[in-house]
Amino acid sequence: MSDVADRVKKIVVEHLGVEEDKVVEAASFIDDLGADSLDTVELVMAFEEEFGIEIPDDAAETIQTFGDAVKFISEAS
């Protein structure tokens, strides 16, 4: 697993309080990992901080799963 994926996973595990093995590529933050809409905003904020990038709101809306997040951040940073 890439370095980006490790760091994203760490944030997701810490923030949502889920088991690490639940955070798989297709895992939806809301449907599978128990996030509410405010959690997803906070995750995006945490990603921005960790990777020093800006994630615009329209892009943030497309980040639904762990895999989406890793892909977006890998391309952006």
Partner: protein, 245 residues
């Protein structure tokens, strides 16, 4: 009780009577205060009066870009905004049948839209801090209506819906959003009334007098405090009993 040492507060309309009293009360409780308003002179006079822990942050609330920039300026000056007090407000009284689009829009822009923009601007850092206090100063007329003030009353009622919705969304993050609804308060705004009008007003108030700006400030101080952490989405009416809501 109500110790705000180490907290930072941004107060709009601090050049006015109520805003100035709010800034003083928060400052006295230990907070660092950002004083915002359109008129620089009274803001600087107030800052000089308060001494340390006071920053002058002029802003024209009818200018959307300036409003969006204000939270950033406040954070640059104070390090954070833990407490946001949306106190600034304008009136453009007119009977409804004659009310122009401009009279309507200018009041909505300053009173309601700027409040929304400032709340939005401080939300991200408050979410991160897991602590925040938003206090929106509304008005009894937002609840009761008032002839000649369709625009003002609508803006204040709008602030209430905004306040409650924000309160819902961020309650789980340690952020509260409440309103303080003044009745008739003796300020420059009410000084414009004739003695006859004032007498008529006082007859409608069980307390038989207008309120003081410091009595509004005390309500804001309470809602800004750590002690009010379980109070959110509510309105504290400070009106001498004129409307028991």
């Amino acid at each position: 009780m109500f110790d705000l040492t180490g907290k930072t507060a941004l107060v709009t309309g601090a050049s006015g009577g109520i805003g100035g009293a709010i800034a003083k009360a928060l400052h006295e409780a230990g907070a660092t205060v950002g004083l915002s308003g359109t008129r620089v002179e009274p803001l600087e006079a107030l800052a000089a009066d308060l001494g340390e822990r006071a920053h002058v942050l002029p802003c024209n609330l009818s200018d959307a870009d300036a409003v969006d920039a204000l939270p950033k300026q406040a954070i640059a000056a104070m390090g954070s905004v833990d407490i946001l007090v949306n106190n600034a407000g304008i009136t453009r009284d007119q009977i409804f049948m004659r009310m122009s689009d401009e009279e309507w829009q200018s009041v909505l822009d300053v009173n309601l839209t700027s409040t929304m923009r400032l709340c939005r601007g401080v939300m991200r850092p408050m979410m991160k801090a897991r602590w925040g206090r938003i206090v929106n100063v509304t008005s009894v007329v937002g609840h009761t209506g008032n002839p000649g003030q369709a625009n003002y009353a609508a803006s204040k009622a709008g602030m209430l819906g905004l306040t409650k919705s924000i309160a819902y969304e961020v309650a789980s993050r340690g952020i509260t959003a409440n309103a303080v609804a003044p009745g008739f308060i003796a300020t420059a705004m009410t000084d414009k009334l004739s003695d006859d009008q004032k007498d008529k007003i006082n007859q409608q108030i069980p307390a038989a007098r207008m309120g003081g700006a410091d009595e509004i400030a005390a309500a804001v101080l309470y809602l800004a405090s750590a002690e009010a952490g379980y109070v959110t989405g509510t309105t504290l009416h400070v009106n001498g009993g004129m409307a028991m809501l």
